[in-house]
């Protein structure tokens, strides 16, 4: 726990500053009300009405998110392996080789299936 306490101190400092700035912002500046200023900015045209609860994400971002998860999980396994590599020796090498090959197979599949194409 002692190791983490300093991080919290810094976090409190950082968060405190950020919150302070955000809260103080409305009071430091002048107030000149103007209807147009309160519209969302869309280069001057009438703002597009946004659906309540947020709009929908394009599907391609979801695919990116999925791919990210898959590879992030791979990294989860790579780190402990890398740290303990010296003790695992040849076994670790071979197993990780297989693991990476397996991931690469999935990777190749995604690539070939145009999962890695962005417009």
């Amino acid at each position: 726990m002692e190791l983490y306490a300093p991080i919290l101190v810094l976090a409190v400092l950082g968060a405190g500053f950020a919150i302070f700035s955000v809260t103080i912002a409305p009071f430091t500046g002048p107030k000149r009300w103007n209807r147009a200023k309160l519209d969302a900015y869309e280069c001057g045209i009438e703002p597009t009405p946004q659906p309540v609860g947020g709009g929908r994400f394009p599907l391609k971002y979801m695919i990116t998110a999925m791919l990210f998860i898959v590879f992030d999980i791979e990294i989860i396994f790579l780190y402990p392996w890398a740290v303990a590599f010296d003790q695992l020796g040849l076994f670790g090498l071979v197993e990780m080789l297989l693991f990476i090959v397996t991931v690469l197979v999935a990777y190749a599949y995604v690539w070939r299936r145009k999962g890695l194409d962005w417009d």
């Binding site: 003790q87 040849l90 397996t102 197979v105 999935a106 190749a108 599949y109 299936r113």
Partner: protein, 517 residues
């Protein structure tokens, strides 16, 4: 920090498993690199060879080295008699199902395309089919093999997911009745992941109580815990819920009819046969090995579950008008019958008898189920398979052989002597009786009779009523489908008339029970 040692792995023992998974990975590569027109002709032999190869390897291993008495892979896997028997059954059933899956026109051309869209139309026109089915199948089969062999709750959980996830997808790939199929897929997925989350929490609590996830470790730790440990009891209950969900025992059966109906029939055949086999293997291992010392705690509950399952399965089946739904409820009822065997624990000999009975039942039921669903794929109407029972009226007159075989399967489900189902039921019920579960046997018998009613009703419909004018067409069977039906029928007959070899095998497999180390 420096105490990590490289584990040792018995590759020879694990060869069947590795082969199946390896083939699955190769399948993904085929999917990625082979041209579309070639994919199927690569996938099918690859899948079949991998499954058969794994089967042969399993047999060779047993023949050469005998059944292992030590857990493999650093205690993660217990490849004992029951596990190997289940492997054999799963592999054979998977081969059979593959032949069925190979039948044309079952899988959607492009899963991602919206039904009715021009994308889909184009895909259908080009004769595409979702060939990912084969690697998915192999992954799932690999998971099914891992599931009952897991000697460690973690491996079991991973296996559970490896088994389930491909199935969730496979369920949604039916070419006809896409909406139903997708709906089945979603329901299966949501409920399935819900149940695995419950299983996982049970695992966590068990880990908390026992301090280990190794099944034998849990057994040992539990011996030391005296009295009722709340954590443990809840954990056990949650683990049980997860497993009971997989076998579709009441009150966790709601997914089964929907999923069985919506999924492509070939996939339903696979699920109905192999998943049940695999899940029972895992369930036995958890309850007999890990929680073996807590019999008195889980047995009463299991009694209730078994009774409820049998009753719910049999009674709700009567109200069904859809053939696959009916078979789903029948599968629930059968799960209940098998559960009577799970409950019947006692001394060593008693457990042996119960275990071998269950193993035999699973094998017998698996073949019959695959056969029944195979027949269901062949009765078609304009929009796909003719699922509604009214469409089956008079089938005996249009296609006496097909209807006859189906009737035979139904009789086997009903447990009429000289079919495999009879000996299965006999084996389980006699074990249950010997284990002191007479009321369960009586309930089992009564529900069998109720169940017989709806099986017989279908036979009546097929043979004793006049065919409807706009009745279904009987598809000309492909070689694969006819082989499946013939094989299933042959297995049902052989196991019904001369079950001894398989009984011997099951007895042999059960002779040492599970590895307790």
């Amino acid at each position: 920090m420096n105490n990590i040692t490289a584990p040792t792995i018995e590759y020879a023992l694990l060869a069947p498993l590795l082969l199946v998974f390896g083939a699955a990975i190769v399948g993904v590569l085929v999917e990625a690199f082979a041209p579309r027109y070639l994919r199927r002709s690569i996938h099918v032999p690859l899948t079949l060879l991998a499954l058969l190869g794994a089967f042969v390897l399993t047999i060779l291993q047993v023949a050469r080295e005998g059944v292992p008495t030590e857990p493999a892979a650093m205690g993660a896997l217990a490849l004992d008699g029951p596990a190997l028997f289940i492997w054999g059954v799963i592999l054979v059933l998977a081969v059979v199902s593959t032949l069925l899956i190979n039948d044309e026109d079952q899988f959607v051309a492009q899963a991602a395309a919206v039904p009715g869209s021009s994308d889909e139309e184009e895909a259908v026109r080009s004769g595409y089919a979702q060939t990912e089915v084969y690697p998915l199948l192999l992954f799932s089969v690999g998971g099914m093999m891992l599931f009952p062999a897991a000697n460690d709750l973690l491996v079991m959980f991973v296996a559970l997911e490896v088994l389930s996830l491909p199935l969730y997808l496979l369920c949604g790939l039916a070419r006809h009745r896409r909406l139903l199929s997708q709906e089945a897929s979603m329901k299966y997925f949501l409920l399935g992941s819900f149940s695995s989350a419950i299983f996982l929490y049970g695992m966590a609590l068990t880990y908390g109580a026992a301090g280990t996830l190794d099944l034998n470790g849990i057994r040992g730790a539990l011996a030391g815990i005296s009295g009722a440990n709340t954590l443990l009891l809840i954990g056990m209950a949650l683990l049980g819920v997860g497993l009971l969900f997989k076998i579709g025992a009441a009150p966790f059966q709601v997914w089964k009819p929907d999923v069985y109906q919506g999924a492509p029939t070939a996939i339903t055949a696979l699920m109905a046969s192999t998943v049940l086999v695999s899940a029972f293997g895992a369930m036995l291992r958890v309850f007999w090995v890990a929680l073996g010392n807590l019999e008195w705690d889980w047995q009463p509950v299991m009694w209730g579950v078994a009774i409820l399952t049998m009753v719910v399965g049999a009674i709700l089946a009567i109200t069904q008008t859809e053939i696959k739904r009916m078979l789903a409820y029948s599968s629930i009822a059968h799960a209940g019958f098998i559960l009577t065997g799970v409950v019947a624990t006692g001394d060593f000999a008693q457990n042996q008898a119960a275990l071998s009975g269950i193993l035999f039942y699973l094998a017998a039921y698996g073949f019959t189920t695959v056969g029944a669903f195979a027949v269901a794929t062949m009765v078609r109407e304009a929009g796909g398979e003719a699922g509604h029972l009214s469409k089956w009226a008079g089938l005996g007159k249009r296609s006496p052989i097909l209807a006859g075989i189906f009737a035979f399967f139904l009789l086997a489900f009903a447990g009429i002597p000289l079919t495999s189902g009879f000996f299965g039921k006999y084996a389980v019920f006699s074990a249950a009786y010997a284990g002191g579960a007479l009321p369960l046997v009586v309930v089992g018998v009564v529900t069998s009779a109720i169940a017989a009613f709806f099986y017989v009703r279908v036979i009546v419909l097929m043979f004793f009523s006049e065919p409807a004018a706009d009745g279904p067409t009987i598809a000309t069977p492909t070689v694969g489908t006819s082989a499946v039906i013939a094989l299933a029928a042959a297995a049902t007959v052989v196991l019904g008339v001369f079950p001894q070899p398989v009984l011997d095998l099951a007895g042999e497999a059960a002779s040492a029970l599970f590895i307790l180390r």
